[in-house]
């Protein structure tokens, strides 16, 4: 499916979605509340058939925290980038997609570890690389570590 019809199909499911500019892939920003519903439909609908979650990344855009999903369909051979953003930096949370794509379980734990983004209904949300008592979330832009990070 080409990008235009893909966009139309996704807008059918989530009318509030907005397209973001990107040269490589169709990038769509969706409201956090609609994420799980959209993900479920993207996987189960036959003509979309997004069955492979390539990559799940947390991003700190300064004011907002975001999660970026690169999702691919093996059968239909198309790729889409779904983004969710939140202004809440104290208690950011999104719905998990680990029940839809199992690989998300590890990726979400990493996003939690590095950005402090919580994933509702995640089966085992713990820090993955750092110790449980680590203070702060290192990949956030406002993270301060005077001991380990040397500023030049």
């Amino acid at each position: 499916m080409d990008n235009d019809s893909l966009k139309a199909r996704i807008l059918e499911i989530v009318p509030e979605a907005q397209q973001e500019e990107n040269k490589q892939y169709l990038t769509i920003l969706v409201p956090a509340a609609k994420l799980h519903d959209l993900a479920l439909k993207m996987k189960s609908t036959t003509d979309l058939a997004f069955d492979y979650l390539i990559c799940l990344s947390g991003v700190d855009y300064g004011k907002q925290l975001a999660v970026v999903y690169h999702i691919n369909s093996i059968l239909q051979k198309h790729t889409v980038v779904i983004k969710v953003k939140t202004d809440d930096r104290i208690n950011p949370s999104f719905d998990t997609v680990s029940d839809i794509w199992r690989t998300a379980e590890f990726h979400e734990r990493e996003a939690y570890d590095m950005f402090g983004i919580r994933f509702n209904n995640h089966p085992d949300l713990r820090r993955i690389f750092l110790e449980e008592d680590w203070k702060g979330y290192p990949l956030r832009k406002d993270y301060v570590d005077e001991v380990n990070i040397v500023e030049f």
């Binding site: 991003v59 970026v68 093996i74 590890f106 990493e110 690389f129 290192p138």
Partner: protein, 375 residues
């Protein structure tokens, strides 16, 4: 502890207990800790604990310029160093819309395939050793030495080469390069028959790997198990075929697929892939076009603001680099989707119900590299 000792033997087998495999267990090939829950010697479930060598590469990247980042990527999956470098270089070139010379594409592809062969050789060596065949280890390392020698001559380094740089490669190939690669392929084509004689047809090996660690194609896709492990489940997931880069669109090679879905199937995919890699190198090695070994680059590389994504096929599976750039000379956010990290996620699923000794074989068949998990 005392209560367990006093239990009758039949009772002990009913009790579920936990043991730690690692962080210094030889079969984890690094510092990975698996908290295994067992009943008798049957694995009930396991929890991987990672992070023993977490170095914060993604955080370090945010302070480094793009040519500096290349040196960090070597340290992720050290057995696919060339391919990791290649991924970052392709991303930078894509963002800046630079066309690299033909010669560079040839050199990079040959280097990538040499990387794949030596990575599979080391995997084969340690696979054999994990299952008790110590001879494999000596055979594999002996043959791998030839590739390391080739690299040493051209790149100046045997292990962490950092040979690719944005726009091309650091320096031109050594005059002996082609001759030595030919010599290696000639030798290794003979030696790989020994590999099959020692392990592939060995009855003990077959019994320990066939029907062990079944991973269905649906699960492989859902868990994102790519590379030879995914292709051992019949999932055609080779990025060299899906999104060809460098010379992969122009050479002929088969994507190796097996459908038994077990440890033996993942083993056979890698064995066959070494033949395919030699096949690719043979098509390219005599035709390297003359020309420059690097495109003209600006002294300071700044990516235009935006988001970029590059997929490549490393020796272990799909390696992705995701960059958010704000137009500066350092990336705003750099994420590596490493194959070992996602492949580790499936270990719990496929080892349930297996014997603890099988866990060693399953772990070896996924070919995990721990720095690639921890980054």
């Amino acid at each position: 502890m005392k209560e367990i000792i006093n239990l009758p033997v039949s009772k002990i087998e009913e009790e579920e207990y936990h043991i730690n495999m690692g962080p210094q267990h030889p079969s984890t090939h690094g510092v990975l800790r698996l908290l295994v829950s067992l009943q008798g010697e049957i694995v009930k479930s396991l929890k991987p604990h990672c992070g023993y060598i977490h170095r914060g590469i993604e955080k370090m990247c945010e302070k480094d310029t793009y040519p500096q980042v290349i040196h960090l990527t070597d340290r992720m999956d050290y057995l696919s160093a060339h391919i990791n470098n290649h991924a970052v270089c392709l991303l930078v070139e894509k963002a800046l819309e630079i066309e690299v010379p033909e010669r560079v594409k040839y050199i990079r592809t040959i280097m990538d395939e040499l990387t794949r062969i030596q990575s599979h050789q080391l995997w084969w060596s340690s696979f054999g050793m994990d299952l008790g065949g110590l001879t494999c280890f000596f055979y594999g390392l002996r043959d791998r030495e030839m590739i390391l020698d080739i690299w040493e001559e051209t790149t100046g380094s045997r292990f962490l080469q950092s040979y690719n740089c944005p726009g091309g490669v650091m320096r031109d190939i050594h005059p002996n390069f082609q001759k030595k690669v030919h010599a290696f392929i000639k030798t290794f084509k003979k030696k790989i028959k020994d590999y099959d004689r020692i392990l592939s047809g060995n009855v003990i090996f077959e019994n320990r790997s066939q029907g062990v660690g079944i991973l269905s194609k649906e699960d492989a896709i859902s868990y994102g198990v790519t590379g030879p492990s995914g292709r051992g489940s019949g999932w055609s997931c080779d990025i060299r075929k899906i999104e060809p880069y460098s010379m992969y669109g122009q050479v002929h090679f088969n994507e190796v697929l097996r459908y038994e879905c077990d440890t033996y199937s993942r083993y056979m995919v890698r064995m066959q892939e070494m033949h395919e890699s030699m096949n690719i190198i043979e098509q390219l090695i005599d035709n390297i076009p003359a020309g420059d070994h690097s495109a003209k680059m600006k002294a300071v590389i700044k990516l235009p603001a935006g988001e970029y994504f590059q997929r490549v096929e490393s020796a272990r599976g799909e390696l992705d680099v995701y960059v958010v750039s704000d137009g500066n000379k350092t990336p705003y956010r750099m994420k590596f989707r490493t194959p070992s990290f996602t492949n580790l996620g499936v270990l719990d699923h496929i080892s349930r119900g297996m014997k603890i000794a099988d866990l060693v074989a399953i772990g070896a068949s996924l070919d995990l590299v721990i720095p690639d998990i921890d980054r």
